[in-house]
Subunit: 157 residues, 2 copies
C-alpha cells in the first residue's frame, strides 16, 4: 500500500491544531484529523503529528472504546500483524465539526500564505463551506438568526 | 435585566458536553455554549455548569485574550461594578462548530427523551442542520464526497 498522501505535508501550520489549542485538549481532534486524511497507522500518526506515544495510545483506545474508530489488522511482508485505525460511521459523522473547526481556524489563525489544507467537493471541485442551513433549506449566515429552544429532552432545574 | 432564559434549563444531559467529554477538554466549549445561550455572568456560568471557579477564571481569561469574548461592565443597584462576557465577531463565528458538535451529540449521545436543546431558524422555525454545502451550492452529505488537497499555505515536510 502506498503511504497516504497526507504524510507528505506538514501539519506545523495546521489551523485545526491552532483552533484546538485555544478550544481545548487538541490531541483527540488531531487523531481524528489524521484518520480523516487517511493516516491510519500508529507510527505514521505519531511521526506526522508529534503526539507523545502514550497520549496517542490513550486517545486511540478512547476513540475505539467510544465507537468512533475500529481496529483492522494488516500485515507487511516479513512483519508481524499490526492494526490500523479506521473511522466508523459514528466517527465519519463528525466531519461537519471538523470542517467547521477548519474554516474558523482558516479565517483567524492561518499563516499569511493561507491555510495548508483545502477541502473540495469531489463532484464539482468547489471548496467546502461551513455555512449552515435549516431544515427548510434556508442558508443561515449568522448566529443571530438562530433561536435556541428547549428540546424534547429539556429538564427544568 | 431578566435572567437569561437558558438558566431555567438543566445542562445535565447536554449533548455538547457529552461530545466534548469524548473529544477533548470540555470546559472551553461549555463556556462558549453559555455565552451563546445568553449566560454572560461569572456566577451564572459557574452555577449553571458546575465549572470550578478557578477553571472558569482561566478559561474566560484565555477566551478574552484570544479575542473570542469581551468584558463589558454592568452594575446592579447597590452593588459594585462587575463584568459580563460577550461574544465578539470572532467568537460568534464559531457557531457552525457548536451546531455541528450539538448535532453529532444529539445523534449519538442524547437521552431516550431526546436532546435538551433545539436550535431553530428565526425566520421560518425549522430546525438547524449541520449539513454542509460547497461553494458551488451542492449539499455534501458524506465525508466521502470531500477531497482534501494541499492548500495555498501547504508546506512539504
Amino acid at each position: 500500500m502506498n503511504p497516504p498522501e497526507a504524510l507528505q505535508w506538514s501539519v506545523e501550520n495546521c489551523t485545526i491544531g491552532r483552533a484546538m489549542e485555544i478550544l481545548g485538549e487538541k490531541w483527540t481532534i488531531l487523531v481524528l484529523r489524521e484518520t480523516f486524511s487517511g493516516v491510519r497507522r500508529f507510527d505514521d500518526m505519531r511521526e506526522h503529528t508529534g503526539i507523545p506515544r502514550q497520549v496517542l495510545t490513550n486517545r486511540l483506545a478512547t476513540l475505539v472504546g467510544q465507537g468512533l474508530l475500529r481496529r483492522e489488522p494488516y500485515q507487511e511482508p516479513g512483519s508481524r500483524i499490526r492494526h490500523e485505525y479506521r473511522l466508523t460511521q459514528k466517527g465519519l459523522d463528525l466531519y461537519p465539526m471538523l470542517v467547521a473547526i477548519k474554516e474558523w481556524g482558516d479565517r483567524y489563525l492561518a499563516d499569511p500564505a493561507g491555510p495548508p489544507l483545502s477541502m473540495v467537493h469531489r463532484d464539482c471541485g468547489h471548496e467546502m463551506q461551513a455555512e449552515l442551513h435549516c431544515a427548510g433549506g434556508h442558508a443561515v449566515r449568522t448566529y443571530r438568526d438562530i433561536v435556541p429552544r428547549p428540546g424534547p429532552g429539556a429538564r427544568r432545574r
